[in-house]
């Protein structure tokens, strides 16, 4: 029975589960979750993955330190078919001649930011080729008196994720949001240093653009965002 320890400092239960299940190669569609302690501090879940049962053990780890526990050295055989809890996204093809973009739909703004970051990362490196070996903290700060509309928040957050990928050559497969509030956005980007020989690199991304950027909360409460990047 595999166990996984994860950072749970303030991240949502959904994000935590998604991350954990992915590390185990479990399919969340068939995951049964039980026993959730208050504050997301202690979660026990029983995902019934491809190989039967596995237990997710809620952890307490120092966020600044390295991620200590993955079930084994073998990365999960996740595929794009893996159902995502919370955020879901699709690559959006546009009619324009010099760009790429994506649309993200999610249950909450936090999941939307999380999904957008993963969609952005997927434009640079095909996610299944990336192993979850390391994590980096990534975030934006919002000044106390600053009014940051949602599109600006999304723009700045994605710029930060892009910076992490481009300046630090870090290939991102999963993003867990730790915070999304008036002080800013903070997340954990999980993946490994870029390896041109092993990773399925799709291409560089120059920048996030304001072109066609949309972010909205729909009447049914779901969130939707559209982002176009310059490649």
């Amino acid at each position: 029975m595999a166990e996984v320890a994860l950072i749970a400092n303030g991240c949502s239960r959904e994000a935590w589960l998604r991350y954990g299940a992915d590390a185990l190669g479990a399919d969340l569609e068939t995951t049964e979750v039980f026993e959730l302690a208050a504050g997301g501090e202690a979660v026990n879940a029983t995902p019934r993955g491809n190989d039967g049962e596995a237990r997710l053990r809620p952890p307490h780890l120092d966020r600044a330190g390295p991620l200590r526990a993955y079930p084994s050295a073998t990365p999960p055989a996740a595929s794009s078919a893996t159902r995502r809890l919370g955020a879901s996204f699709e690559t959006h093809e546009t009619d324009h001649t010099a760009d790429e973009g994506f649309v993200v739909t999610a249950r909450s703004r936090s999941d939307l930011l999380c999904g957008a970051a993963e969609a952005l990362a997927a434009l640079m490196v095909d996610p299944p080729s990336i192993e979850l070996r390391e994590e980096r903290v990534c975030g934006i700060k919002v000044e106390a008196a600053e009014l940051v509309p949602d599109d600006e928040r999304l723009f700045r957050w994605l710029s930060e994720v892009l910076y992490l990928m481009d300046a630090h050559r870090f290939a991102i497969r999963r993003v867990v949001l730790l915070r999304d509030d008036e002080d800013g956005v903070e997340g954990l980007a999980c993946g490994e240093p870029l390896d041109m020989d092993r990773h399925a690199v799709r291409g560089a991304i120059k920048a996030i653009t304001y072109h066609g950027m949309e972010i909205e909360r729909r009447d049914d409460g779901a969130w939707r965002a559209q982002v176009v990047v310059d490649v």
Binding site: E100, D166, A167, V201, A207, H211
Partner: protein
Amino acid sequence: MMQLERLDEVRWRLPRHGAMRVDGMIYADDVLMTHIRNDPCVQQVANVATLPGIVGHALAMPDIHWGYGFPIGGVAAFDPDQGGVVSPGGVGYDINCGVRLHATHLEREHVKKDRDRIADALARAVPAGVGVGKPDARVADLDAILAEGARGLVGTGIVTQADVDSIEEGGRIPGAVPEYVGDRARQRGHGQIGSLGSGNHFLELDVIAEVYDTEAAARFGLMEGGITLLVHSGSRGLGHQVCEDMLGVMLRAAAAVGITLPDKQLACAPLYSAEAKRYLGAMAAAANFAFANRSLIAHRALNALAAATGRKKEDLKARLVYDVCHNIAKYEEHHVDGRPMRVCVHRKGATRAFGPGHASLPANYRQIGQPVIIPGDMGRYSYVLCGQQGAMDETFGSACHGAGRLLARNRAKKLASGKEVQKRMAGRGIALRAASMSSVSEEAPEAYKDVADVVGVVEKAGIARRVARLEPLVVVKG
């Protein structure tokens, strides 16, 4: 659809309407107009014409296509004394993306028979694709490069004094303020110098297939059958980050002075504002980084070419023909309505193309006009032209910069895989190497317009004149 008024074979006027302050002018023939007419880029020309202080026309070169804010292939000049603005959207994310052409004493046969080996050597020598390059101790002082550009590398063995005379603005855009380039931009740029990047960036060995103007070609050092090195790259992550960092600042600056923007990517600030000075200082620094980047790429490529052909580097007798910006905004003197005026010229996907006699041209080119280097797609050909008086009269000394995309990247990818494109290129006698095969399929020759059509228009318009045509033998892509 916008109403375009045909003036002659290659000129189309977009009459002023709505919030436009000046007319638009598109250079195109019938063939190119079929691509342009229904493209959102025509609306973008109209959008540019609404910006404060614009003088002359909002111009579009024949390779115009949709871009962020300004169209790619767009040229516009702004008068600071009429509230004129500078807009990062008029320069683009890849600040001073540009091209550089070297002539060599090698001939077709020297490269043709060994082209695969030479291609491998070039691909090894010049980092390409996503991520960083190879460090070189001679270019370690980033602040010096941001301030001095290619000129800061004279004496290192990478750049000679003769080289800087053949670079736009002498290899250093004046007014660079390295402190305005933030930490993020520095982090992204650090270590990327001397690397191609990805997307449409490339380096090529071409053979001079045809010479149209023997005298001009001789001045430029180009002879039929000779081998040239062509480099297309820019300011890498450093420039992208400068642009991204400044967009928010410019959006707030535009709002503060009540400029109505038809498109957020046209964020701008009055040229006399602190925000504009900040952008221009950072942009010039990023442009200087790009000059140094292309210099180091060429240096690495020429060393590898010499080694792969069993020669000493001196024996290549490589000579820099010209190095020119495709994405830039800078102050230049031009005549507007017959009056001399200092204006801020934005060229986004457009080449400076100064005509004969211009004081800023090196002495040996002054009579001929500035070399204008126009790459085509990687499978067909590229052109070298020289700037004409028409450019000075009509386009603020500017010409087109390339073939222009015909198909979106995603559509191009569906046409053929990277491997298939590589095989087809090999069938045509072209050795292709790439860091990413997926970018090869996006860059397939069919994804671009025929650059001969584009060049034909600027020649008919009297903007620039054809000097030579180059055909690729070796292509290295990002």
